[in-house]
């Protein structure tokens, strides 16, 4: 029971030696699609796509990480709570030259297919015990809910943070790639709309290894920690891991004498991954065998997690700052006359082309378009008629500029 084509390539990271290469046909199909979309040079006119934007504004939306991981069960410990972040850049395309809008509009956000969270995870039962705060139902760490209004960030875009989204939709189905609808209104009238993925997954496979009989995987983990480090975690559940091991993702300083959570986890498990025998070891802990969060044009071209991030030893390097020390596009990409991220700035925060964020045209990290997931391609397809980088000038410009676009951070 194997599918053919696009998705065959996605589900390739199971047990080692189990049909991995049987998926090459599917993978090549994806790669061919990617090259066809991105490798033939950026088209400049509407002829390359079948759609043109008809609204006076355009809004381009992306997620900051490309995947937000969380747990379903918090009764034993907390690694990551529900917390999602969405960015939107609004461009007024009604005049002769487009400009980025930072005021005067309302940017609304909702996820019509996923409207509740408190019934899908027990985070709201254990939040008080873990963080000392009793959050209101369906309200996340920053006070935002599952629908709301994006706020201006002061850096030429809008965002909403801490959205407590889970990967279970209102139909009860697992969907790590739910669509948010973002609507821009001005003076009460809708001037732009888009739909973009708000990725979230709780697919963590601790039980691949932590499966001692008679106890839960979580208890097995805490018991092992107690045995190896002389702690008393099992007796003090639920445990906030970042209370000791610093985690910049949560803003938790931890104990400065202990390794960061990332260093502790990657370092402690680096030499133990052989026992799980996965094609992609990362998917033992990061989502995952079903989710396959690395789903972008790189994946489609045979580039996997460790090709950019390095192995577990590298990620667990104690000198590394988790979440900040990340791969850079120009580690691999170089092209005469082109520039990639801004110096000292990550892809997700970089801008070019008169202040347009990279994400606006290229998509979220780990979901750089064209992706192998249908949901992540929707925005580009609907705005310009095809998946892939937003390469049609008329998406933002009211008329075809005609000039070649040099990919530089200070390009006008």
């Amino acid at each position: 029971m194997r599918t053919e084509g696009l998705l065959t390539g996605r589900r390739r990271s199971g047990r080692k030696g189990r049909g991995a290469r049987a998926t090459w046909l599917g993978l090549l199909g994806v790669a061919g699609f990617a090259v066809g979309a991105a490798g033939s040079g950026p088209p400049t006119g509407p002829g390359a796509g079948e759609k043109t934007v008809s609204t006076p504004y355009v809004v381009l939306v992306a997620n900051d990480l490309g995947m937000h991981c969380m747990q379903q069960d918090f009764s034993e410990f907390l690694i990551l709570p529900p917390f999602n972040t969405v960015h939107a850049q609004v461009i007024d395309r009604s005049g002769e030259h487009p400009h980025i809008v930072t005021s005067g509009v309302t940017v609304d956000f909702a996820i019509p297919g996923n409207t509740t969270a408190t019934d899908k995870t027990n985070w709201w039962t254990y939040d008080q015990a873990l963080l000392g705060v009793d959050f209101a139902p369906d309200v996340g760490l920053t006070g935002n809910g599952l629908a709301g209004v994006l706020s201006p960030t002061g850096r030429k875009d809008y965002s909403i943070t801490g959205v407590p989204l889970t990967p279970i939709d209102d139909n009860g189905l697992e969907n790590p790639y739910p669509l948010a609808t973002v609507t821009v209104t001005r003076n009460g009238a809708e001037v732009a709309r888009t739909q973009a993925v708000v990725p979230v997954s709780w697919e963590v496979n601790c039980s691949l290894c932590h499966n001692a009989p008679g106890i839960s995987p979580g208890t097995d983990i805490l018991r092992a920690h107690d045995r190896m480090h002389g702690t008393e975690l099992e007796a003090n559940q639920p445990v906030f891991c970042a209370g000791c091991h610093a985690d910049p993702a949560l803003g938790a300083p931890g104990d400065p004498d202990l390794p960061t959570f990332s260093a502790a986890m990657h370092g402690a498990h680096a030499d133990r991954m052989d026992q799980v025998e996965l094609e992609n070891d990362c998917y033992a802990c990061h989502p995952g065998l079903r989710t396959q969060c690395q789903r972008d044009v790189h994946y489609a071209n045979g580039i996997f997690c460790t090709d950019c991030h390095g192995g577990m030893e590298a990620v667990g390097d104690p000198s590394r700052t988790p979440w900040a020390d990340q791969p850079r596009c120009d580690d691999c990409h170089s092209r005469p006359g082109f520039e990639f991220e801004q110096p000292g700035t990550l892809y997700r925060d970089s801008k070019g082309h008169s202040g347009v964020f990279c994400y606006a045209c290229h998509g979220s990290p780990h979901a750089i378009t064209p992706t192998v997931t249908e949901q992540d391609n929707l925005q580009a397809i609907n705005l310009q008629g095809h998946a892939g980088v937003i390469d049609q000038c008329i998406v933002c410009h009211s008329q075809d500029e005609g000039d070649p676009f040099f990919h530089r951070v200070d390009d006008d």
Partner: protein, 391 residues
Amino acid sequence: MTNHSMTTRAAALAGLCALAGAASAQQYEITSLGNIYGPSAAYALNGSGQAAGAAIGTIEDLSPYRAFFWDGALHAIDPLAGDLDSHAVAIDDAGAVYGNSFTIGRFAVRAFMADAGAPVLLGNFTARGANNAGKIVGQTPGTDSAGWRTSSACVYDSGSVSTLPGLGGRSGLATDVAENGDIVGMATLPKDKVNHAALWRSGVAHDLGTLGGARSQAHAVNEGGLVAGVADTAAGDPHACLFQVNGAGDVASRTDLGVLGGRASYAYGVDGSGRAVGTSDDRAFLWDGGQLLDLNAHIPAGTDWHLQAATAINGSGQIVGWGRLLGVPTAFLLTPACVADFNGDGSVNTIDVLSFLNAWAAGDSSADINGDGLVNTLDVIAFLNFWNAGC
């Protein structure tokens, strides 16, 4: 201690508890529906105690979802050809299972019916509920004039899918259908930021409103027009709610079922007599006789279960859902126990009283009849109430 003296003591205690008027809630036997590899959950139950749900498949198959049918053993149901995942949502009294076939990362969800064989395609919609007349309700996808995705509540009947009207927004979802054809679910209001619970009768959508807050959802309906769901209170907290619908399809009353703890509760199922089940504060609940009961207090003491959510209840009082069994989410079936038949020999007699008192005297956890974690006089009263009531 002779049987005679024990019987006398029991009779005396029976009289005592009758005088005290002590009440004892129903106890349940718990059955694990099992797992394939990882977590499992039960979402549906028919009148015969057969169940349906979903379980995580084997790691060798890359941990897909697998719909299952349970009739004493768990039977996995494969997805339709071309998909990787399957998920069952309903089961009728004949044992036909209704569910969905899908692949994570794709838009398409296809509804299927499985009846003692391979699943059969019903259509390109998401199934969510079904009745014994073959009506299936759920959600069908669409697009607006600009190409953005929308969805509508829908009903499948006699081979065709019909959309149901919304409440002003672009999204709708039908969750259950009664034997009389009443359909319930939810739909977004204009601007698509919030859902309201909805009832569709004769094709007309009725907004079931809220408990004073912004949002509501309906998850189940019985023949008497009693709808189980959730509605925000004026404080903004989602509370399990029973909406009583009148003959015109409008709401006659809304009952806030309260919470077991925390600030939220959700009702997912309701039987013909008005008993409702759901979840609150990470615990499965039963609403019965005006009381919200934590089902964890009504299963045998000393199990490794923590019941998290109850999703359906049938006319025999059986309940399905999921809970943590040694930390792993696992589908369960609760069957009302005959507590009075303490020795399990199929009859209720004085031997049961003797057996109970022996266990009680020994401090055995099986004598913790009221499930409060203690073996004391209250358990004697509780047991004798059950014994007096019989089974």
